[in-house]
Symmetry: C2
Subunit: 202 residues, 2 copies
DNA sequence: CGGTGAATTCAACGTCTGTAGAATTCAGCA
DNA sequence: TGCTGAATTCTACAGACGTTGAATTCACCG
């Protein structure tokens, strides 16, 4: 990463360059650090060791690059499959552990961070986050239990998951940011469980 | 608001202009909509019906303008005073209602939105948010109950409050965004109560 | 061996940004 | 009345941004 333009020589290079993937990787990292609006194509290109025009050659616009970089590499339902086979009374805790696991996995963390950092100031990214929540968390809530008000419960779960990610990983609020996975699971697990199972309307 | 430059005439005007306050008001609104990095001094000046250089004249830099605009107009402990006199078993619910009340109050909502939108991509704003959480939520937790681990509990409360604000007001996640105050209080109140009173370590 | 098309860079455009300095008009005080 | 200083605008700079078009080099296929 971050190799500057090598020779300043124009034209095609020999061998498999893997440039497209390098750009996507750099983009995920930059979007994760600065959000969509804050990240720059010039910066991404520099990280990938490439001319900014090449980014445009591959992806057209910054927005299309973002969409491409955000393609989720793991089908979330597969990640959550293991959750299904646990003690139903500890479902909330299992979900929190899964979420924390995602944030500890370099590539997934970059995508999560990028999506959240961008969604807060950019409308299209917010729409992408809404879609992700609806298609993932809602599917999980609806699939694991058959309670009423699945959408409402899913959005409550999302509010705590998003808040946890921001407080712990983005704003680095102590002591939550440094707490062990076990402690966080012990504290937040029951919250998710509550949104799954208890009464949530007045 | 948003009156364009009137006559294009230079020099001082007659009477109390109230320009400084107009700039601060416009700044709060713009920072709320776009966050610190996305808001522009030119845009703020336009909303205040004033030349951009005047903003610089009053506040020096964009960062100082932000700090000035974020000065909290209401001492939060006063807002939370009423909470103290309620049923201790419904403390979580009372806090959620207070927070939702803040988000429905135009000026306070602008500041909350500005602080959160900025904190996600800007380091100094993140530090301000951390300070706010520490000085407000921690003080409340420590003042209302005398449990162990007050800091950890406070950061857990903050994670749910921040997540609620983002999901409901910034990302507009349905059906949470349209739910009634009563429903949200019924769902999220117990979560806060749990972070206040239950065991939160493994 | 020649040609086509992809990969790559260069140079440039128009626009927007935060900030600065100088000029102008006025309020308030001596 | 005259001076000082605050309020306000104009003009401008220097840098960054996304995007574009043309030029160059190479891989691959016939």
């Amino acid at each position: 990463m971050s190799a500057p333009t090598p020779g300043g020589r124009t034209g095609r290079r020999s061998g498999e360059s893997g440039t497209r993937e390098a750009i996507l990787e750099a983009a995920r990292q930059r979007f994760a650090e600065h959000g969509f609006d804050g990240a720059t194509i010039r910066g991404i290109a520099a990280d990938a060791g490439v001319d900014p025009a090449l980014v445009h050659h591959y992806f057209g616009t910054k927005e299309r690059l973002f969409v491409e970089a955000m393609r989720f590499p793991v089908v979330p339902s597969e990640v959550l499959a293991s959750v299904r086979n646990g003690d139903p009374d500890r479902l909330g805790e299992a979900i929190v552990r899964t979420v924390l696991g995602v944030w500890e996995t370099r590539d997934l963390r970059a995508q999560a961070e990028a999506l959240i950092r961008s969604a807060v100031t950019n409308d299209k990214a917010a729409a992408m986050l809404r879609t992700f929540v609806t298609s993932t968390i809602l599917a999980t809530v609806a699939g694991l239990t058959n309670v009423e008000d699945a959408e409402y419960r899913a959005s409550l779960v999302a509010s705590q998951i998003i808040g946890l990610g921001i407080a712990r990983y983005i704003v680095a609020l102590e002591p939550l940011a440094s707490a062990s996975v076990d402690d966080v699971a012990a504290a937040v697990g029951p919250t998710i469980q509550h949104y799954f199972t208890d009464a949530v309307r007045a």
